[in-house]
Amino acid sequence: MSGQPLLVVRDAHRDYPRSGEPVHAVRGVSLDVAQGEYVAIVGPSGCGKSTLLNLLGAIDRPTSGSVSIGGSAVSTLPDKAATRFRLTHIGFVFQRFYLLPVLTAQENVELPMAEAKVPLAERRDRARELLGYVGLEARADHRPAELSGGEQQRVAIARALANRPIVLLADEPTGELDARTGSDVIALFDRLNRDGMTIIVVTHDEKLAGAARRVIHMLDGRVIRDEPLLRRA
């Protein structure tokens, strides 16, 4: 680890009721993630990776145990505060991009800032800057349907960065992309991490996992191995 823990998970469990018998999606996970780390969570389908990511991102609450980010116990926050926390502290990137199809790339990036009540001029500038960062400034006025999958995912990354989050959470960000555009996204994540962004990705993609500095292996809701990788030059 490269500093004090930014994100602390202690004995987190997440059970889902199903036909009277609970499904134990996450079973007693504990982990620390430091500021500036780049972590990949890997494991077979259904092992609880995405559920853990949802707990880390205050989208879901653990059945028991705790999650804190930047010193805030997000697992106990009421819905309104958790929503606000996600808005201002966490950036999300999803497998299916999920850009709003009615908005342009620029407007999609502006959406979280508008929700955070960032003044119009400031959010326009910031959206342009972020689209420039992900190499899509020229596509700012295009709607998602006019963008390729890789471009949509880069817009989604720009949207995730809009409110300057302290951590970027990505769930299979290359899952819907071909090898070439997947590589673009991996390179972008690498650049982001080099620029200081803490990143946690859930992935099946070995290339993406290999780009991370630390890989957490999960099986049946548990962390079975937590290994730092050699820092690349």
Partner: protein, 394 residues
Amino acid sequence: MRFQLAALSLRRHASRTLLAVLGVAVSAAMLLDMVMLATGMRQSFASLLGRNGFTIRVSPRGTLPFDTEATIGQARDAAVAIERIAGVTAVAPVLGTTIHVLGAANPVTAFALGVDPAVQGDYQLLQGQHPTANTLVASDALLHATGASVGDTLDVAVGFDPQLRTYTGRRRVVVSGRARFTYLSADDRAAALQLASVQAMGGADRTDRVSLFMVRTAPNVDPEAARVAIERALPRVTALSTAGAVAEAEHRLSYFRQLAFILGAVSLIVGFLLVTTIVTVSVNERIGEIAIMRAIGVSRAHVVHQIVIEGIGLSLAGAASGLILGVFTAKWLNSILRGFPGLPDAIDFFLFEPNSAFRALALLVASGIAAGIYPAWRAASLPISGTLREEAVG
């Protein structure tokens, strides 16, 4: 941004939104028409009775004006008694009868009013002069039926006895003018003569008798108080104020109002269900997007507002279109209903009253707000992680 998102969401399926707006517009038009129908007859009847400032009708005891052929005797004394009542400014005697215009192969029958031209309120002169002792004014329908015009002389008879085939009175009168009769339809053959002429032609049965008095009161006088005073002074008459007549008409037309209320309520419910359905379908299509919005920190309030705004947008656009559609439909229906024989020209079935119309449309828009609440609540209550999982699987 929630207004922009709501507008863009509605534009996303433009044809569906257009059809929904048209559906709400039809519903709004029907609601508006029912409101116009519920108030139209009452208002136009009150307006008709209030013309020329007459506020009280006095008829033989137990009858409504021209409900029967009964008359008020000693009419001159009765008029004087009414004039003496405080607040009464004018008394217009009216004697109704049937006249027969002779001369052609078949006599033309018409309704005639004996009036005092100086204070009458039964007709508006369109051309010529008010009636004198040996003249009359006639409706266009009567002039058309007799082939006469202003200046022509007619052979007029009153009181036909079918057994003896005689008349109680007959005289030659000149058509001194053309008139529109306030309380009759344009198709009615009608004439107005001087009261004394009609009384004289009616024989002994009609001497010093009238069918009714129309009474004008001063603006600062309560017509109801004057009405009570008239009945007290003349126990053999029934006095009916305009407000009383309107209430009586309203009672008789309660069927129309109930029908209008039921159909209006049905329209409102249909509009409500239509907006609810469309917004719910739209929300169901966007479940994934909404879950993502919530995941990236968009508040429940934002989601609720956006979806309710969509419902309001549909309702407002539908209400605005329905206003135009409803007014045109009402005009068309009114023209059909006014074609009923015997209806006074001044009666309207549908009357556009801005306050009532806008209240009804406001109700529709309010129902649009209510219609958006269920889908909005549903969208805002989505479990984010569960929805994302289902969307990922889907």
